[in-house]
């Protein structure tokens, strides 16, 4: 055994705080160390050549690089070892940058710590055994969960590359929140006009299987081989026979709120979600219908010419295998009824941003005329309150939802276009216009379209006759502001949708403190999750506007392709390993495994049947929870065995 030790200076990143020469010298007398060197940038081509040369000339078989975090350059050096015919798992990275030079200022102490870390790594490395990663096959099919603009974009991109893609949408139509928007900032494009071609493409694409009105109920398996169960709810209308004639709707006796119009208009129990819906078919709302029973009411079936209504339709369970999964489950607005001082739900003329969006929409409940929902009057003064529930860590959401400044500006501007003698007032904390053409859009609203902006927070809203008394403060003039408004629109923030929360739980994806799904790395892996083969598209990972969502979704499709394009995948070799002689079959590891990677299997022990734990190598992520749980150390973690860790501890403790 010959170990080569390389201390990287990383320019002054490490050498500025750590005496690298001293660290290198400390390794020289240690057992099995053949050479110990310092280099300015170990990751550079000459740096790598230095190691290659030593492997060739000195016959090194193990390499230790004391440099940055293994998450940065471990792959680089592992590849180097592999190229030289050495087992890549005999490489050891010692993080003397993030864990040492960057977090300390005292050079002597930082050097001592670097020496301790290096010594422990060398002692550990002497106990390392070569590991061989296993390979698994890949199913070249993708699953996209969520049919909003993110899911649509991901599905289209994957389908264009040539992968069979399933798009699963919970509601009866794809389109998501974007389908409910009237216009999009800052260009004022008609939202439906730019979205519907993509929706139609999804419906037509030969590589896309669209499962609307469906939910993912179970996900098993691992990267390249996910087993997914999808429940397709019954629509009670045969989409092939239905001619969209609309005869069934007027006869339906049940009237409920129309969720597409933010509950501001009625619809029947048999309905089409909205005119551009894909798949374009009527469906029966199970919960609202008098009972899906022709004995109670069959008015729709009686008038249906093509005989498309089938009360006997049953939900289906579809089981499919996928190689990659894209989670595009999106957001929902923050429940503003939580904001007591704004009285949403009790004060008549206080509405949400999404409700206002529908009111100004040409396809909305008022056919594009701005009328307030309470009495149908055209409001002459509208107050828009930004950050309703956002940027309020004490009581509501701590974060900025990114889109509210712009959508409120858009609302105010659209209102001024529709009601020429109306007054639009925006109360804001800050105006955040960090996006292409956003600042210009805001300037245009304020300067050309006469939208009034008041910097300050509204402290309370009080119902006053058919108006709302708005009390707040103008923080620029330090004066209190009081005004009467005919309508108040609350710009609500974005929170993870119920679907996002469910899917995160089902797939065991870690979430941020805000509930949005956490990316594998916030900067360098913004569409990956910690679970390989599962990717994020759109607002499931945090608030985004439409262009950002679309590029995020294309990114996710591209990342998913890197898996789908493989014939087989190598799985990490540093995983759990059971010592069957020690295992007593208690199954605590089975229950504690966050990835359901362990099961108990029956074994014959001298004629007696015993149970022992068995690790599914493809599912195991090597987190080590099982090793920590096992009472007598019957599960070890390859590459981090108990002996190796004890050797490290000894090195760290023994001065």
């Amino acid at each position: 055994m010959k170990i080569g030790v390389y201390i990287c200076e990383c320019g002054s990143n490490i050498a500025g705080t750590v005496d690298t020469e001293k660290v290198a010298q400390s390794a020289e007398p240690l057992p099995k160390v053949a050479v110990s060197r310092v280099y300015r940038y170990a990751c550079s081509e000459p740096g790598q050549n230095l190691i290659t040369q030593d492997i060739e000339e000195l016959g090194l078989d193990r390499v230790i690089v004391a440099a940055c975090s293994p998450s940065m350059h471990e792959p680089t050096f592992r590849a180097l070892l592999r190229e030289k015919g050495l087992n890549p798992y005999l490489l050891e990275m010692v993080n003397i940058r993030e864990q040492c030079s960057w977090v300390h200022s005292d050079k002597d102490q930082a050097t001592d710590k670097a020496i301790s870390l290096l010594t422990s790594a060398i002692l550990r490395n002497t106990l390392m055994k070569p590991l061989t990663p296993k390979k698994v096959g890949v199913i070249n099919k993708a699953l996209v969960i969520g049919g909003g603009i993110a899911g649509i974009q991901s599905a289209l991109d994957l389908a264009e590359v040539g992968y069979q893609t399933y798009l699963v949408e919970k509601t009866p139509s794809i389109g998501g929140k974007m389908a409910q928007l009237d216009k999009t900032f800052p260009t004022l494009d008609c939202s439906a006009c730019i979205l519907s071609p993509k929706m139609v493409d999804v419906g037509r694409h030969p590589n896309i299987t669209l499962l609307a009105n469906s939910e993912v109920i179970e996900v098993d398996g691992y990267v390249g081989n996910f087993n997914v169960k999808i429940r397709k709810k019954a629509t009670y209308v045969d989409p092939v026979k239905c001619t969209l004639c609309d005869e069934c709707v007027p006869v339906c006796p049940v009237i409920v709120h129309d969720e597409y119009n933010a509950d501001l208009s009625p619809r029947r129990a048999i309905y089409i979600p909205f005119p551009q819906a894909v798949p374009a078919t009527y469906i029966i709302d199970e919960e609202a219908c008098l009972g899906i029973d022709p004995l109670i009411c069959a008015k729709c079936r009686d008038v249906c010419g093509p005989d498309a209504i089938d009360f006997d339709m049953k939900p289906e369970i579809i089981e499919e295998e996928f190689g990659a999964i894209i989670v595009a489950t999106g957001y929902e607005p923050y429940p503003i009824e939580n904001i007591g001082e704004y009285g949403y739900g009790t004060i008549h003329n206080v509405i949400s941003g999404l409700e206002f969006e529908r009111i100004i929409s040409a396809s909305g409940p008022t056919d594009g005329v701005v009328r307030r929902p309470s009495d149908g009057k055209v409001p002459k003064t509208v107050v828009f309150i930004h950050c309703a529930g956002s940027r309020d860590p004490a009581k509501h959401l701590p974060y900025c939802s990114k889109v509210c400044c712009m959508y409120s500006t858009k609302h105010a501007l659209q209102y001024r276009h529709l009601v020429h003698d109306g007054t639009a007032v925006n109360f804001y904390i800050d105006i955040r216009t960090a996006g292409k053409d956003f600042e210009e859009f805001y300037q245009r609203a304020a300067e050309e379209d006469g939208v009034i902006y008041i910097k300050g927070k509204v402290s309370e809203l009080i119902e006053d006759g058919d108006q709302v008394l708005v009390r707040g403060v103008n923080t620029l003039t330090s004066e209190t502001v009081e005004m009467h408004a005919d309508l108040v629109v609350l710009a609500t923030g974005l929170i993870p949708s119920e679907g996002t929360r469910q899917i995160a739980k089902m797939l065991k994806l870690p979430v941020d403190s805000t509930g949005f799904i956490r990316e594998a790395h916030p900067k360098l892996k913004p569409v990956d999750t910690v679970i390989s083969g599962v990717f994020l598209a759109g607002t499931a990972s945090g608030p985004k506007d439409i262009p950002e969502t679309v590029s995020h979704a294309s990114g996710a499709a591209s990342r998913a392709s890197t898996i789908l394009a493989q014939k087989e995948l190598e799985i990490e070799a540093t995983i759990a390993n059971v010592n069957e002689i020690l295992c007593r079959g208690c199954g605590m590891c089975v229950d504690s495994c966050p990835y359901s990677a362990i099961e108990l299997v029956a074994k014959n022990s001298f004629g007696h049947t015993i149970k022992v734990a068995s690790v599914n190598e493809a599912l195991c992520k090597g987190c080590g929870t099982c090793s920590a749980t096992c009472l007598n150390g019957a599960i070890n973690h390859l590459g981090y065995t108990d002996s190796q860790i004890l050797a490290q501890i000894q090195a760290l403790g023994g001065k």
Binding site: P510, I581, L582, C583, R584, G585, C586, G587, M588, C589, V590, D591, S592, C593, P594, L600, S605, F606, G607, H608, T609, K611, T625, T629, L631, N632, G633, D642, S643, L646
Partner: protein, 328 residues
């Protein structure tokens, strides 16, 4: 008081069954206050069964200890059940082992005893030292023990001899049994375990000194491990050589490592039978460690060991939201 006749009658019926291999109960020991486990393979064997407040030993250790010899080719596994006489805590030990899949419920026939508490052998031996003759002990209705030694009858208040763990016992009735000997006993509001009183006010240094004093005396006989129904790993970490977690040498450092390791391995698993402490020849108050962990587990994870065979083990319930204030 448990009706001994009913116990023997039930045990005889059980042991006569074809599907039962043997039944473990208590019999009179050979000297003093000690009772012995009795293994009855036939109804005649059952005649020796007794039950009195000296029956402290937790018999739940035996089904796990049973040696399974290699079978000859073609030989069938002996699938017969094992009968056991259990008190509340012993029954909880079985529940816990079943949760951990160490035993299968169907392989056991359980005779449950509603327990009024058992005598601390160390206390009674201190009171009547060097007793060699067999002693008969009964509990009367006035919470007193009637102790007959030779021709002398002593009446001693129960409180004075009762095991400390019994004083804070919340589950005197077996949660799991097939036959219950007598009516369930009433569960009263229980006092805090004596060893935990005032613990929060005791400074850490003082606590550490207290334990060093006790661990100093440990002779590493592992009697605590052998008596414990939940210490049943095939190979104990204390016996491993690669890696060697604990060195063989008997000194404060290694003794401390052993006792702390054992206590942590029982966190969320200990059912407070107190066997470890009662068998300890060095008189280490081991139940103070176990009770402290039991209390912490209950407060932090809302978990009590050994109550429901269907429940998951504490270590087995991984939850990212688990409290983690102890991580610095």
């Amino acid at each position: 008081m448990v009706d001994q006749k009913q116990l023997i009658k039930t045990a005889k019926e059980i042991v006569s069954r074809e599907d039962v291999k043997y039944i473990v109960g208590y019999k009179q020991g050979t000297y003093g206050f000690v009772t012995s486990p009795a293994f009855a393979y036939t109804p005649e064997d059952v005649e020796s069964f007794i039950y009195n407040p000296l029956c402290k030993k937790n018999l739940a250790v035996y089904p796990i200890l049973e040696e399974k010899l290699p079978l000859k080719r073609g030989e069938e596994e002996d699938k017969r059940k094992i009968g056991l006489v259990v008190k509340g805590c012993d029954s909880r030990a079985l529940v816990q082992i079943i949760q951990e899949k160490g035993l299968v419920r169907e392989d056991l026939v359980i005779i449950g005893i509603p327990c009024k508490g058992v005598i601390d052998l160390k206390k009674i031996e201190k009171r009547f030292p060097n007793q060699t003759e067999v002693v008969d002990v009964e509990e009367n209705d006035n919470s007193e023990y009637i102790i007959k030694i030779g021709d002398t009858v002593h009446t001693i208040p129960k409180e004075e001899l009762l095991s400390e763990v019994c004083k804070s016992c919340e589950f005197p009735n077996p949660p799991l049994y097939d036959f219950l000997m007598g009516e369930e006993v009433e569960v009263r509001e229980k006092e805090v375990y004596s060893g935990l009183r005032g613990l929060d006010e005791t400074p850490i240094e003082e606590r550490w000194a207290y334990w060093e004093k006790h661990f100093q005396n440990c002779i590493r006989c592992y009697a605590c491990r052998e008596a414990c129904p939940l210490c049943y790993c095939k190979t104990c970490m204390a016996d491993m050589l690669d890696p060697q977690w604990i060195r063989r040498s008997v000194n404060l450092s290694e003794n401390t490592a052993w006792n702390i390791m054992r206590a942590f391995h029982l966190a969320g698993r200990c059912i407070s039978c107190g066997e470890c402490e009662s068998v300890c020849p060095a008189n280490i108050p081991l139940m103070e460690l176990n009770k402290k962990l039991e209390k912490d587990v209950k407060e932090m994870f809302k978990y009590t060991a050994g109550l429901d065979t269907e429940e998951k083990t504490l270590f087995g319930t991984f939850n990212p939201d688990d409290p983690n204030e102890f991580i610095m």
